[in-house]
């Protein structure tokens, strides 16, 4: 058994508190740094427990368990990768807010959301936009308050493949932890002390549903189809279905809506920067 930190690592995300037990000090420091932007002031709410155990068989296998499931890994920084996954899944499915799968960035008064399933290049595109000066809000979830649909930032750490990391010039811009074969990092801009968008209650201004294509571009999309995509991608809508469905309806009525053709992520980011900033 390895040395473990005696004091649990506390992370707050989306109004949930987590206590991570059993991490090595160096891994715990990485997790703490990566999740620092979503940390909230301490209070007396009960914490959700996440346990890290390292196999004593010598193969460096790691198992992470929490109420969101079980994650395993092996190799360097495996605990960091698995804890990162555990924190993320538990946060987006357990949050009291309305959360759905989307990339989100902002620039000045424009808040852009890209709802869609995994594998559509959202994370790489979000990082390419941040590299152009957009503010990072999340590569994972659009999180909305139930009362007015305003956006709650969720700047979780991004995980990019080596190819995507190179494509967005990650090496020159951000510090990463290589874990599980991916670069784990916070794509905050050079002047971003916090990833929160400006303004206390930002709303979604532009809503683009991404679709892979040879070249970047925009196509018309019915608002009701954008609404359907948001519903399909939701993590927590089922808890307050009628209220949430109506709230997402308000979002698509207010926002500029379209289908985004995602080609090369850097070219697509430049295209979006040109159109919306």
């Amino acid at each position: 058994m390895r040395d473990c930190v005696h004091v649990p690592l506390h992370v707050d995300a989306l109004d949930l508190r987590f206590a991570v037990h059993g991490m090595e000090p160096s891994d715990a420091a990485d997790v703490k740094r990566l999740w620092a932007p979503v940390a909230a002031a301490r209070d007396h709410r009960p914490a959700r427990r996440i346990d890290v155990t390292v196999s004593s068989s010598g193969d460096e296998a790691v198992a992470v368990t929490g109420d969101g499931g079980r994650w395993t890994g092996a190799g360097p920084a495996a605990a960091t990768a698995a804890v990162n996954a555990a924190l993320n899944v538990t946060a987006v499915t357990g949050t009291g807010h309305l959360a759905l799968h989307a990339g989100v960035v902002s620039s000045g008064s424009v808040l852009l959301a890209l709802p869609g399933a995994s594998g559509r290049g959202k994370s790489t595109l979000v990082c390419a936009l941040v590299a152009l000066g957009w503010r990072y809000v999340s590569d994972e979830a659009l999180v909305l308050r139930w009362d007015d649909g305003s956006v709650v930032p969720y700047p979780r750490p991004v995980a990019l493949s080596p190819w995507s990391w190179a494509a967005v010039g990650g090496e020159e811009r951000w510090a990463s932890v290589v874990a599980g074969g991916e670069h784990l990092f916070l794509p905050t801009g050079p002047d971003a002390a916090t990833a929160a968008p400006e303004g206390a209650r930002a709303a979604v201004d532009v809503l683009l549903v991404p679709e892979r294509a040879p070249e970047p571009g925009l196509e018309p999309l019915r608002r009701v189809d954008a609404l359907a995509e948001m519903v399909r991608r939701s993590f927590t809508l089922h808890r307050r279905a009628a209220e949430g469905h109506a709230l997402l309806g308000d979002v698509v009525r207010r926002a500029e809506v379209g289908r985004l053709l995602v080609g090369d992520p850097v070219a697509t980011a430049a295209f979006l920067d040109d159109v919306f900033r």
């Binding site: 019915r222 009701v224 359907a228 809508l237 279905a241």
Partner: protein, 96 residues
């Protein structure tokens, strides 16, 4: 699936929530995680599936609203209603 001509169509299934945007309805069932979007015509059909009209009455009502003969739209109305019932978005038609 054949719909009994004397049965009233609807109402919507209990769990289904509806949001209308620009004349098109979005239907969502948190129980089945099913989300369906309707075009404007299908939305007009949906709005009449409230459990008080038979299929023939819905056809007649829509035909009058659009100024066409019932035969022109009967097949489309039947298809839309059948699809909504099969997806459990409407309660199964019950004989009066």
């Amino acid at each position: 699936m054949d719909i009994d001509g004397s049965a009233c169509i609807g109402p919507p299934a209990d769990d289904v929530t509806v949001v209308e945007v620009e004349g098109c309805a979005s239907l969502y069932s948190p129980v089945t995680a099913n989300v369906v979007t309707l075009n404007e015509t299908a939305t007009q059909i949906w709005s009449r599936c409230d459990g008080t009209r038979t299929l023939g009455e819905i056809v007649d009502d829509l035909a009058a609203a659009y100024g066409v003969g019932p035969d022109t739209i009967a097949a489309e109305v039947t298809n839309v209603v059948t699809g909504l019932v099969e997806q459990r978005l409407l309660q199964h038609p019950a004989a009066p």
